[in-house]
Structure formats: C-alpha cells, structure tokens
C-alpha cells in the first residue's frame, strides 16, 4: 500500500510554483520538475495525473491561502472606509511577503486555467466581499457601480503600485520605486473619494 509522503508533495509544489513564475506555463514539464524537485517522475504522477492537474492544484492552493489572508480581521459589516483600508493592508502585506504566490495568482487569472480554478474555489471570499459592498451601498457609503468598475477603482490602483514596487522601478525605469505607507494612504484617500456617493 502506498503512503503519502508530505515532504515530497511540498517539494514538488514549491518547485512547480518557482518554475511557473520564472519560466511561465510552457516552461513546466513533469520531467524537468522531477529533476529540479529531486524526485522521480513517477512520484509526481502518484499525486498529479498530468501537468494541467498539477498547475490547477498548485494555483488553487495558493489562491485559497491568499484569499484567507485577505479576510484576516475583516468583517462585511465594517464601515466602507475602514473595510477597504483593511483590505488594502491585508493584500499589500500578502503580496510583499509572498511575491511569487501573488505573481502566480495573476498569471492564473488571465489564463485558460482560471475557469477551472474558479469553479473549484471556496466561495467564502466572494461572498464576504459581496456582502461588504452591498452593506456599504445600503448605508450610502459607496456608489453603486458595475462590479468590474468598482473593482478597478477600489483595487487596481493598489495592484499597480505593488507591481511597480516589486519590480523596483516606476514609470521612469531609471529611478528606483518604493511604495511606502504615505503613498498608500494618499492613493487610498483618492480611491475612497472617487467611490463616495
């Protein structure tokens, strides 16, 4: 009878994450992954039936962890300003602490894998954020917008600043860019101003 070797599974997933982020989806093959993770291809196939299955499982796990981190200390009853600020802080903290995982989530979001990952995802996050937005609209703290428009204003500015920060460079590639707390506060204030009814 076969026993599950957690250490090996962790090594496989970690290495897969690294390859996916550094080399993209096409850069990952089971053979290469086996070599780099120090396991036999057979071992990988015990846990994953093919490359797609592996990518989906790794992505699902990382996205799930990210969403859990995002909800830390958060409640959908929060005042809109307070709640959005906490969302920004939680997301920034996660992105800066786990840049590779954050990168993979972005890669997945704009790939054909996302449909499957989304279907399998625990929907607690979507539900909580949905309630938060509805409550805020009801209390007249937030203007009613199509979801994508809301998201683009509420979060895209932060995500772009984080991208500049992780690359270390701003629009002017010659100068170093560091996202600090003041800059974040400044941006968040503008975002909240834009979203006020």
């Amino acid at each position: 009878m076969r026993v599950k070797d957690e250490k090996k599974v962790v090594a496989i997933k970690e290495k897969a994450l690294e390859i996916l982020v550094n080399k993209g989806f096409d850069g990952l093959s089971m053979q290469k992954l086996a070599k780099e993770a120090g396991v036999s291809p057979a071992t990988i196939y015990i846990y994953f039936k093919d490359r797609d299955d592996l990518i989906i499982q790794v992505a699902l796990e990382e996205i799930q962890k990210m969403l859990e981190a995002t909800l830390k200390g958060f409640s959908p009853e929060m005042h809109f300003e307070e709640g959005l600020k906490l969302q920004w802080i939680n997301r920034v903290n996660y992105f800066l602490k786990y840049p590779m995982q954050a990168h993979l989530s972005e890669q997945i979001k704009y790939s054909p894998y996302y449909n499957i990952v989304f279907q399998k995802m625990d929907k607690t996050f979507q539900k909580t954020m949905g309630e938060f937005v509805h409550n805020a609209i009801k209390r007249n703290e937030l203007v009613k917008l199509p979801l994508e428009v809301y998201w683009s204003i509420a979060f895209a500015p932060l995500y772009q600043l984080v991208k500049f920060h992780t690359s270390g460079r701003g629009l002017n590639r010659l100068e170093k860019f560091v996202l600090d707390e003041n800059m974040m506060d400044q941006t968040l204030k503008l975002v909240i101003k834009a979203l006020k009814p």
């Binding site: 009878m1 291809p41 057979a42």
Partner: protein
C-alpha cells in the same frame, strides 16, 4: 508525517507509447471494463506518455501484459 492516501487504493505509474487519441480508445477498451481499476489517465503531453492507474489489488505485470497484448509498450516507472 506519513499518512495513508486512502485505504486499499493503490496508484501505479507506467511509461508507455500511447501517443494518439485512437491509441487511447484501444486502451480504454481494456481499462474501462477492468473491475479492479477505479480511475485511469494517460498524460499524452509528457515525454513518457505516463499511464496512471488507481486500483484495488492489481499487480503491475497484469496491466503490462494486457497493454502489450494490444501492441503497446508499457513498463512500470520506479518511484
């Protein structure tokens, strides 16, 4: 810590030369009706065309023999 995947279910992994969809149909005829096989999958994108089988109490050489009989190469991949 080591934990059991699932009681009684064993996973076998083979290197094969199952290359095309029509090959898969032939393999399916054997594996689908096999009473001891609960799940199977061939990774056609991999160099080794890996056949993965979840089964209850089956021996690797039984699979190897059956695939060879319909003209495929099949060898167990060492863990």
């Amino acid at each position: 810590m080591e934990t059991m995947i699932e009681k009684e279910i064993d996973i076998l992994v083979f290197k094969t030369n199952i290359k095309y969809k029509k090959d898969l149909e032939k393999v399916q005829d054997i594996l689908k009706v096999h009473p001891k096989i609960t799940k199977w999958h061939v990774d056609l994108s991999d160099r080794d065309k890996v056949l993965r089988i979840e089964s209850i109490d089956i021996l690797p050489h039984q699979i190897i023999n059956q695939l060879q009989q319909v003209g495929f190469s099949c060898e167990e991949l060492p863990d």
